[in-house]
């Protein structure tokens, strides 16, 4: 084996080392002087001296800025501590594959394997415990990595596997035994296991391990959404199927002709322009991100990208979205419970995972949000979305014929993510870090990119009849679901493997990323496999669809699984769930109105939720594909907070798609119903604010909730589902897809920390003419600032109350009948070109929106609160300035357009409440004409940019 260490020339600065040094200082270790980082490559294979030199000079080391060493163990500088970190066995660093390819290109044929590692040289006055702290907090995640003590091997000796069929004694188990089996291995409850026991009793034999696990996976919360389809008792009310009776009901009732495919495929599909269709899916990847942020988030994004790819006959991804919820980055290290990564590390890891994967895929990340709450400490929420475009005729899910071949394409199968699905349906515990290691992997974006490039060609040539993605549940879910109506026979030993030694069970259950499943007519197989080969992507026939409606799995001709599809997919008993909803009474804050509100405004602008996310946004490529019309950042310095993003998927067309999202867990602490209503309203507001309309808006729901077996959590979930359904129906916006992630609780000892009720509403709207788009930044002095909508005393769950240590009870409500009229009128005015800037009012109300419009446009704004239309008598300026009432906007209108604008808004609540000027200040006058805010824009902007200005 040869060892190569590549490092930046000592005479040059090492940016990676510098960045790490800053992180070490953040840990409170100020004595660190210098940090240098080396890349280590371990090459297995008998290489001559000359070959090794060639590899180093021509491939591994940059001749201008890097040095390399081929010494067994290069000397550590006297003043430095060296820490070498390598991946655990089975964890694949994508770089290894590229290096092997690069070596082959050099003409070196006999390279067996490549392994990578990193070596850190830390100098300064550092104690052993400092090094230990740095390693555990910054350098190593024990889930996937370890510190190299003695010599690291390039590869484990190839493991071998010899077949033996594993049977499980089920028929003789009593209730106690079944319960144990369910808890220990399968995450199934007693009722479910009794059904399974009954099935095998009927066919007169015990199950094999793989049969039992296939059932467990197919029946898991993650795949079957048991809670949303269960019979729920909430007081007197009985809800037979929460999903059907809420979000899906909206879609049915509205019956929009432009909804092409909803709730049945891997994503929801709508008509874009008569020729093309758009599809949209948002997925959660919370638990993996909690224990390995980078890998968890990258595979989360990689997974959701495959949803549009696996929708209809396949679509091309055109945009990504991401919404994260973390504990505050300044959470004290010493208060961190065991087994939990610090929120700052989770934030940085998740951001990096999403950026590295999305950027490599060449998909712009255009919209999202980041929210913070202490209760996300042990269980962050990571939601990634992807929008795809396809020809309209490819929009419907395909149908295979018996005799069609089962073809797996893309990446190879390894031991990755075994039990990922059941893991996702379980609670996190202090041991999660150890026990769940195999559930986490590192994504390989290039494998997926290669696969997508060829898949879209294969679609154009019509080489397959049906496609789906291999996501949670791996082949088990993908094959099982695709073959539900026909039946299938799979030869598991034909599945291409990353390394030897996998059992038939591991092959079937593996959740290795970057794989898709196709149903291919036998006559097209040769051409399809050839096409994939032409771009170095593997496509392998692993079985054949049958007509017997049985799931038959063989390994080396041994039958290891034979399940009736009817039982597999319809045998799951509907569960009964009890829910309770007790409105909580929070104390109302009691404090005198501050005479000067500038300080409170700055504190809200500087709060984690409201502050600028530019540090994150700039590290995403939001321009790739050239379609961005409204970017995430806008204004005179390209740094103001845009409301929704607009993307033009067809560069020669003027049609666009508007992408928006609404979320505010704080309201859920008062009433999840109005939290959900507000989320829908917010997503729609953003669409209107950028110049869109409500004619063709499709919604997605993503619920991240606690343990639904606890009646109070479930009660809130029911309220939220009803809330978003009622409001969406009234606004005429159908849901086209959704996802729920439950059991988001973190156990420490006896204590169970539940995340705040978290509902993300994502929206996509078709925009006929992108040249009508409006940005949120103020445009010109002398223009009028209108407030559109009604302001009420609704500070419950607001940032302002948060500042004053209270939650309150007056949660913002929504009147969608009035709201729809208002949004229709405002978009009509925008359509006529009467609105020069528009910003939706959400967190921080009028105060925050006005400040953002002003500093984004580099122009002052003067506001008069006595002009603001109120829904009830309000005596306090702070209430009016910071109320978070829904369905409100600030709109900038040129004086010469005053009449036309007011004409267009006839019958709507609105008022001219201020003007744009050159003062470089935000000035607000109160109800009695007194000055309550006079703040230089520079100060407001600084407060807003500082927190995440990393």
């Amino acid at each position: 084996m040869s060892r190569v260490e590549v490092s930046v020339k000592p005479s040059l600065p090492d940016p990676r080392g510098e960045a790490l040094k800053a992180d070490i200082r953040d840990l409170g270790i100020g004595t660190v002087q210098q940090v240098r980082v080396s890349d280590v490559y371990l090459l297995e294979g008998d290489l001559s001296r000359k070959e090794l030199e060639t590899i180093c000079r021509q491939l591994l080391a940059d001749p201008v800025v890097e040095d390399y060493s081929t010494a067994e163990s290069p000397p550590t500088p006297p003043d430095a501590h060296a820490v070498e970190v390598a991946y655990n066995p089975g964890v694949m660093d994508p770089v290894e594959e590229s290096v092997s390819k690069g070596i082959l290109d050099l003409g070196v044929k006999h390279i067996d394997s490549v392994k990578t590692a990193k070596k850190y040289y830390l100098s300064g006055n550092l104690s052993a415990s400092d090094i230990e702290l740095i390693s555990s907090k910054l350098l190593v995640n024990s889930v996937i990595q370890h510190v190299v003590t003695s010599g690291e091997k390039a590869a484990l000796p190839p493991a071998s596997y010899s077949f033996s069929l594993e049977k499980v004694e089920l028929l003789t188990l009593d209730d106690g035994g079944l319960t144990e089996l369910g808890r220990e291995k399968l995450e199934l409850n007693l009722d479910e296991l009794k059904q399974i026991q009954g099935y095998f009793a009927r066919i007169g034999r015990n199950p094999t391990d793989i049969e039992l696990e296939t059932l467990a996976q197919t029946w898991s919360e993650h795949c079957k959404h048991k809670t949303f389809s269960s019979r729920i008792r909430l007081g007197e009310e009985v809800i037979d199927n929460l999903l059907k009776s809420t979000v899906m009901r909206v879609t049915e009732k509205l019956a929009k002709p432009w909804c092409l495919s909803t709730f049945k495929d891997n994503s929801g599909v709508i008509d874009f322009d008569g020729r093309y269709a758009l599809c949209f899916k948002v997925e959660t990847h919370n638990h993996p991100s909690a224990i390995e942020p980078y890998g968890g988030a990258s595979t989360g994004l990689g997974g959701v990208i495959r949803d549009p790819l696996g929708t209809g006959l396949g679509s091309k991804p055109i945009a990504n979205t991401d919404v994260f919820c973390f504990a505050p980055p300044d959470f004290p290290h010493d208060k961190l419970p065991p087994g939990i990564l610090h929120p700052r590390r989770i934030l940085k890891g998740v951001r990096a995972g999403v950026a590295d994967y999305g950027n490599r895929m060449g998909i712009p990340t255009v919209n999202g949000a980041i929210l913070f709450d202490d209760r996300y400490l042990g269980n962050p929420v990571v939601m990634c979305g992807t929008i795809g475009i396809m020809p309209k005729e490819a929009a419907q899910m395909g149908r295979q014929k018996p005799g069609d071949l089962v073809v797996v394409v893309g990446g190879r199968t390894g031991r990755d993510g075994i039990h990922g699905v059941t893991f996702a349906s379980a609670l996190l515990t202090g041991e999660s870090e150890e026990t769940s290691a195999s559930s986490v992997q590192i994504g390989n974006a290039i494998t997926e990119k290669k696969m997508i490039d060829v898949l879209l060609k294969a679609r154009e040539r019509g080489l397959y009849r049906r496609i789906t993605d291999c996501g949670g549940g791996g082949l088990s879910s993908a094959v099982g679901e695709m073959a539900a109506e026909t039946g299938v026979k799979v030869d598991l030993e034909k599945v291409p493997l990353k390394y030897s030694g996998l059992s038939y069970r591991e092959i079937w259950l593996s959740e290795s990323q970057e794989r898709m499943l196709l149903a291919v007519p036998p006559e097209s197989a040769k051409e399809l496999i050839g096409l994939f080969a032409s771009e170095d992507v593997e496509a392998t026939v692993i079985g054949q669809f049958t007509s017997d409606r049985h799931l038959k799995l063989l390994y080396q001709d041994n039958l290891v699984c034979d399940l009736d599809m009817e039982f597999l997919h319809h045998g799951l008993p509907q569960s009964e769930r009890k829910a309770v909803w007790q409105p909580v009474k929070h104390s109302e804050p009691d404090f005198a109105e501050p005479p000067d509100l500038a300080e409170d405004l700055k504190r809200i602008l500087g709060s984690w939720n409201v502050c600028s996310k530019e540090w994150v946004i700039r590290q995403y490529d939001h321009e790739v594909q050239g379609g961005s019309i409204l970017k995430p950042l806008s204004g005179i310095n390209n740094d103001g907070p845009g409301d929704a993003a607009i993307v033009r998927p067809l560069l020669d067309s003027d049609r666009g798609v508007i992408i928006a999202c609404g979320i505010n867990p704080k309201y859920g602490d008062i009433d999840p119903y109005w939290m959900a209503a507000s989320a829908v309203d917010e997503a729609l507001r953003q669409i209107i604010a950028v110049g869109g309309n409500l004619k063709r808006v499709a919604l997605l729901d993503n619920f991240s909730w606690g343990n639904p077996e606890k009646p109070d959590r479930l009660g809130g979930l029911v309220r939220a589902a009803q809330g978003c359904a009622d409001i969406a129906l009234a606004y005429g916006a159908p849901f086209i897809s959704g996802k729920d992630s439950l059991y988001n609780e973190y156990q420490t000892g006896t204590e169970s920390i539940c995340i705040p009720p978290t509902l993300l509403i994502s929206a996509m709207a078709v925009m006929e003419d992108v040249s009508k788009a409006v940005s949120m930044d103020c445009k010109k002095e002398g223009d009028l600032i209108y407030i559109v909508g009604t302001t009420c005393d609704e500070l419950g769950g607001s940032h302002y109350y948060g500042l004053h240590g209270a939650i309150g009870n007056q949660v913002p409500r929504v009147n969608p009948e009035k709201g729809k009229k208002l949004m229709d009128s405002l978009s009509a005015a925008t359509e006529k070109g009467l609105v020069k800037a528009c910003h939706d009012l959400s967190e921080g109300g009028i105060g925050v929106a006005a400040a953002e419009m002003a500093f984004a446009g580099g122009l002052g704004i003067t506001l008069h609160l006595d002009k603001v239309p109120l829904g009830e008598a309000i005596a306090r300026n702070d209430t009016i300035l910071f109320s978070e009432s829904n369905t409100r906007f600030l709109a900038e209108v040129a004086p010469e357009d005053r009449e036309r604008f007011e004409q267009a808004m006839k019958g709507i609540t609105f008022a001219a409440t201020g003007e744009v000027n050159k003062s470089d200040k935000l000035e607000v006058y109160g109800l009695k004409g007194e000055k309550i805010v006079a703040a230089p824009l520079a100060e407001l902007k600084e407060a807003w940019q500082k927190p995440l200005g990393w």
Binding site: L59, E535, Q619
Partner: protein
């Protein structure tokens, strides 16, 4: 007269091929996309085209370093074809990852004895996506920038910092330098987004026919791609289009 033919080279991880295709089509060229395997396998050949483009992306994940693996592939498997293509008077454009590839393949700047210039990690140690102002060096022989004095374009990269010894830098044909909106090339970060030596954003060879830059001209073809199009006076085209028009016109008139 037959249409100018442009080849856009694809490799695993290429991701700016479609907008680059659009840009050349807007400039009046016929465009074909070819995967590197088709060139190596002889299914198509550079000799059929007048313009060859290596577009942006993360070829092979930018593993080891940006563009490195594709650079070796070009050098080792297509070196001769590329040399003949250049001698025949063809144009080569490298954008972002394409710039890294051409540098590390020793095609631009052409190497006499070993690669002397490189593109390494940004000073900020992060990938950044932002818009930058460019000043075009009036002395530059570059045919792609003829008649252009300044541009405003987006960058999106993590490894765009030009590094080389002084004598190598002195010999460079610098085409574009990062600047601020007033054209000051000494404005520093973030105007120079990566810490590039001498604020260099793009270079060409002595003939002006091989040109590479880190910013993305293909992302600013239509005015509505400008980050401030909603607040500034509309213009006919994006600044990037000129690069592609120049290339196509040059081929037509030579």
């Amino acid at each position: 007269m037959a249409k100018v033919k442009t080849l856009i080279l694809r490799a695993p991880g290429t991701n700016c091929d479609e907008e680059t295709t659009f840009a050349f089509e807007q400039a009046g060229s016929a465009v074909e996309l070819a995967h590197i395997n088709r060139l190596v396998g002889g299914d198509t050949s550079l000799s059929r085209y007048q313009i060859v483009v290596i577009p942006g992306g993360f070829t092979y994940g930018d593993d080891i370093s940006g563009g490195k693996i594709l650079a070796n592939e070009l050098k080792l498997k297509l070196g001769g074809d590329i040399q003949r293509f250049v001698e025949r008077g063809g144009l080569i454009l490298g954008i972002c990852n394409g710039f890294q590839v051409l540098v590390k393949a020793g095609i631009l700047p052409p190497v006499e004895n070993g690669q002397r210039l490189t593109l390494s990690g940004n000073d900020s140690n992060r990938f950044e996506c932002r818009w930058v102002y460019l000043q075009i060096d009036p002395k530059s022989p570059c045919i792609f920038t003829k008649g252009i004095s300044a541009m405003y374009l987006p960058i999106a990269h993590g490894e765009g910092k030009i590094m080389a010894e002084k004598e190598t830098l002195d010999k460079l044909n610098v085409v574009a330098r990062y600047a601020d909106e007033k054209g000051d090339i000494k404005a520093g970060y973030p105007h120079n987004p990566n810490g590039s030596a001498d604020n260099i954003a793009g270079i060409c060879d002595a003939t002006g026919r091989i040109f590479s830059l880190m910013p993305h001209p293909e992302r600013f073809i239509r005015w509505t791609q400008h980050p401030r199009w909603t607040r500034e006076a509309p213009r006919q085209h994006g600044d990037g289009l000129g690069i592609f028009l120049n290339a196509v016109d040059w081929v037509k008139h030579s």
